[in-house]
């Protein structure tokens, strides 16, 4: 009797692990398929580009003023803290280095990814889950339209472009604010600033930042969509799809950030 219970427990655990692995496998499979579709020019017609534009509009453009403001405030606070702390330890020379590394390389991309994940990622998750549960995607397929191409890939590409764009804008803003906080409005610090930026952004670091932004953007759409598509087609599973998608997304963002840090500093 206990052996059977143990067997059952073991089987349940194995099933859970298998389901977990299968879930991640579906993530990578869907991600790869979406990338292949996104990279084929034939995928873009007027309808898909319009949907993509809408996705970019809702994800990035709509929030751009508020995002810029929050980003500027956050940057300014962090920069002031770092400059004051570094100055009080006699390390003012390193303040700019620390600011750029902390803000531009780590905080801003992570901030953008979390912002977009909580806002648009959750929306995409719910929307695709409802479409999946209602059978909209199958209806599309029956009508001869590829749901991947017409509904899902535009969202993935739109999210990725939005995250990338927001990261670029936020990082540029942070660099400008860092300069202003360090040197004020005088152009006298340009040489020092250029020197510090040149010292930090080696090829590996720049490529790493670019890759991180791209992966963050892809994760923000791919993980919620995959989680939405794998739930049973019943309305009560919609919250579970959103929950799964958000948890996985958070995990994935943490993993990408951790991998980026490990790649850079270990």
């Amino acid at each position: 009797m206990p052996i059977r219970a143990l067997n059952r427990a073991l089987a349940a655990r194995l099933d859970a692990i298998a389901a977990w692995a299968a879930g991640w496998w579906r993530v990578f499979h869907f991600g790869a398929t979406a990338l292949v579709v996104a990279c084929s020019p034939s995928a873009y017609d007027r309808a898909t580009s319009n949907l993509m534009a809408r996705q970019v509009y809702f994800t990035a453009l709509q929030i751009l003023p508020g995002f810029a403001l929050v980003c500027a405030l956050l940057s300014y606070v962090v920069i002031r803290i770092v400059i004051l702390a570094a100055g009080s330890y006699g390390l003012a020379d390193y303040a700019l280095n620390i600011v750029v590394r902390v803000l531009v390389l780590e905080l801003i991309p992570m901030f953008v990814a979390l912002f977009v994940a909580l806002r648009s990622g959750a929306a995409i998750n719910t929307e695709v889950a409802l479409m999946h549960i209602r059978g909209d995607l199958e209806a599309l397929q029956r009508a001869g339209a590829d749901p991947m191409r017409h509904e899902l890939v535009p969202r993935v590409v739109g999210s990725a472009v939005s995250v990338f764009g927001l990261t670029v804008i936020g990082s540029s803003l942070a660099l400008v604010i860092a300069y202003l906080a360090m040197y004020g409005f005088s152009p006298g610090g340009i040489d020092d600033f250029t020197e510090a930026v040149g010292a930090i952004f080696s090829l590996a670091v720049t490529l790493g930042l670019w890759l991180k932004a791209v992966f963050f953007g892809l994760a923000v759409a791919i993980l919620p969509i995959t989680a939405s598509l794998e739930v049973p087609r019943e309305m009560r599973y919609a919250p579970i799809a959103v929950l799964n998608g958000m948890v996985r997304l958070f995990l994935a963002l943490a993993l990408i950030e951790g991998a980026s840090l490990a790649f850079k500093y270990i």
């Binding site: 319009n50 509009y57 006699g90 804008i169 250029t194 020197e195 040149g198």
Partner: protein, 339 residues
């Protein structure tokens, strides 16, 4: 949020028309294109700026710095001149001679700060990273050629630290043993204290030097006695003066020794005259004796008498001379010339 009703409510067959026509967003494509353009421009500008900052667009020349140790040196770290970054470490390699070769690229714009007499140092501070610095004393020297190999001096604060700490420790130990209660210094200071205490006492410095009032009193007594002795010596010398005066008077004064001596000499002269007379007589007698010749026997008796007289005279003379000599040790005219 806004997207939710859009896809959820549309009939599947109208999906394409839906996405294109139901958009209530004015200038959607234009706005999105604007965002994409902004992103693209910022990205390109950033990449361009980073490339510029890393000196990709400048012509550079290289300097090879040779060091014993590459600790703290990393690729990309700046080389500063007067606090300004003029170059960057491009690569670090270990040469065949076990020396570290640090290849530094210096932008052509800043290369004129480096001259053949420039000195390069690697400084490792206690806080903060290692710095490579260049110093140029004579800016009129010829410029450093491209690819020049220069030794680099290491100034490492942390290297010196253990030595400094051990020296400080020894110093502090010495200081401690010097200032401890049973140290020589303390004992010396105690002695100084005792001595100055004695100096302040009744006998003053003398008491301090001699080690006590008792000894000082003895010295005072000795001084007193010496004073008395000097007084009596003064008396003695006065008496001595008197004695000398008297002696002078006795010797050189009237009726003194000298006068008597002169009288004695005069007497001596007279005696010598007598002696000469006697000898003349003797001479005459001898001549008579020769003349007599044959009557020798009788004459011989006279001769013996005469001879005894002469001898007596001579003895008197000699006694007189001895007396003179005894009376005064002047040797003047003491020689007697016998004929």
């Amino acid at each position: 949020m806004e997207e939710l009703p859009k896809s959820a409510q549309i009939p599947p067959e109208a999906i394409q028309a839906e996405t294109t026509t139901s958009a209530p967003i004015p200038y959607l494509q234009f706005k999105v294109a604007l965002l994409l353009a902004l992103t693209l421009v910022l990205s390109v500008a950033f990449v361009g700026y980073v490339l510029y900052a890393r000196g990709v667009f400048e012509t550079t020349q290289s300097v090879v710095l040779v060091s014993d140790d590459s600790e703290g040196i990393s690729v990309g770290m700046p080389v500063t001149f007067a606090g300004f970054a003029i170059g960057r470490v491009q690569r670090i390699e270990l040469g065949d001679d076990a020396k570290v070769r640090i290849r530094v690229t210096v932008s052509q714009r800043d290369a004129h700060w480096l001259r053949v007499s420039s000195v390069f140092t690697i400084e490792k501070a206690l806080v903060g990273g290692t710095r490579i610095r260049a110093f140029t004393g004579v800016l009129s020297d010829p410029p450093l050629p491209d690819g020049a190999v220069r030794p680099v001096l290491r100034g490492d604060a942390t290297d010196e630290l253990p030595k400094l700490v051990s020296t400080m420790k020894a110093l502090l130990e010495n200081l401690q043993s010097m200032t401890s209660a049973d140290s020589n210094l303390q004992a010396s200071l105690g002695h100084v204290n005792t001595v100055t205490g004695r100096m302040a006492g009744r006998s003053g410095v003398l008491g301090a030097v001699l080690g006590g009032d008792e000894n000082a009193r003895k010295v005072f007594g000795a001084l007193d006695r010496a004073n008395k002795l000097l007084d009596s010596l003064g008396g003695v010398s006065a008496r001595l003066d008197q004695t000398l005066a008297k002696t002078d008077e006795r010797v050189f004064g009237k009726d003194g020794v000298m006068d008597e001596t002169q009288q004695s000499i005069r007497q001596l002269n007279a005696v010598l005259g007598d002696v000469r007379e006697s000898l003349k007589k003797a001479d005459a007698v001898l001549a008579d004796a020769q003349k007599i010749g044959a009557n020798a026997r009788a004459a011989t008796d006279d001769l013996a008498t005469l001879r005894a007289e002469v001898e007596a005279s001579l003895r008197k003379v000699s006694a007189l001379i001895a007396e003179i000599n005894r009376k005064w040790p002047f040797a003047r005219d003491t020689e007697l010339k016998l004929p």
